[in-house]
């Protein structure tokens, strides 16, 4: 397996794990009160979004400079 392939596979698996973990954390935290926790929730949501974006980038759906990776 060449190195680029390995990168992509690790990125895909990692992104799924991270997105899932962030969403689970978000769900667990959903009802926590307090200012910092509201911020945490927004940030966990964005983190999950970032992981999904990374996933798409890794499988080549999204890429730079006009879509071609």
């Amino acid at each position: 397996m060449d190195i680029v392939r390995l990168e992509r596979v690790v990125a895909v698996v990692g992104a799924i794990v991270v997105a899932a973990a962030a969403l689970v954390a978000l769900k667990n935290d959903w009802k926590t009160p307090g200012l910092e926790n509201q911020v945490f929730k927004v940030m966990l949501g964005l983190l999950a979004l970032g992981a999904v974006l990374a996933l798409f980038a890794a499988i080549g759906v999204l890429g730079n400079f006009g879509g071609k990776a």
């Binding site: 680029v4 990168e7 992509r8 690790v10 990125a11 990692g14 992104a15 794990v17 991270v18 973990a21 962030a22 954390a25 667990n28 200012l35 910092e36 911020v39 945490f40 940030m43 966990l44 964005l46 983190l47 979004l49 970032g50 992981a51 974006l53 990374a54 996933l55 798409f56 980038a57 890794a58 080549g60 999204l62 890429g63 730079n64 400079f65 071609k68 990776a69």
Partner: protein, 209 residues
């Protein structure tokens, strides 16, 4: 660096109720101040992002001639590393709140390791970019200016974050925090999340669009 036992060190005299109230109030101030600091830091990034988007759309085409495509696969890998460190940090804080100090320490160490890995990955990316493109800072034009300034600034934030988290780890080992009073850890987590979330933005604008 491991914590000796699952019990945590209690700061001696700080159990008095009045002091707790004061703690809650000063904590509130510091939390608000820290959040506002993050807002102003966000504005700093936003200004540079505005500059990047402005230059990018100033009618010269993108990417500028002579600039190859960035290595999206590697960037995705490196991003997952950083995003992963965000979740590990979150688990670290959760475990501290619930008094699981060994788990806390492990998650925090994992976060630091992932942060350092990300920095290494970024260094590798810089190296390949410069080597492959034979471009120095100034020669790489507005692309280099935007890319290296923004990612470099983010890298500095990650580096500061790694230092911050290392200090927090040492402080918690030395007994500065309790499961009730741990504002430093909250601030560290907020900061680390901030650094991650900024990367979501930078990753999107540099590698995806």
């Amino acid at each position: 660096m491991a914590l000796a036992s699952s019990s945590y060190p209690v700061a001696g005299a700080q159990t008095h109720g009045e002091v707790d109230r004061l703690y809650a109030e000063t904590r509130d101030l510091r939390l608000n101040g820290f959040l506002l600091f993050m807002v102003s830091d966000l504005v700093l990034f936003s200004s540079f992002i505005f500059a990047y988007l402005y230059l990018r759309n100033s009618g010269q085409g993108w990417p500028p001639p002579g600039i190859n495509r960035l290595d999206v696969a590697f960037a995705a890998f490196n991003s997952v590393v950083l995003f992963g460190s965000g979740t590990t940090m979150h688990f670290a804080l959760e475990n501290w709140k619930h008094g699981h100090f060994m788990k806390y320490a492990n998650w925090l160490i994992a976060t630091i390791v992932l942060g350092v890995t990300f920095l290494g990955g970024q260094g590798y990316e810089y190296y390949t970019l410069m080597a492959r493109l034979h471009h120095t800072w100034s020669g790489s034009g507005i692309f280099g200016a935007s890319f290296f300034t923004l990612t470099g600034m983010h890298g500095l934030h990650v580096f500061a974050g790694v230092c911050f988290l290392t200090v927090l780890l040492m402080q918690s080992v030395m007994g500065k925090y309790t499961p009730q009073k741990y504002f430093g850890l909250t601030a560290g987590t907020l900061y680390w999340h901030f650094v991650d979330v900024i990367w979501v933005l930078l990753f999107s604008i540099f590698y995806l669009i």
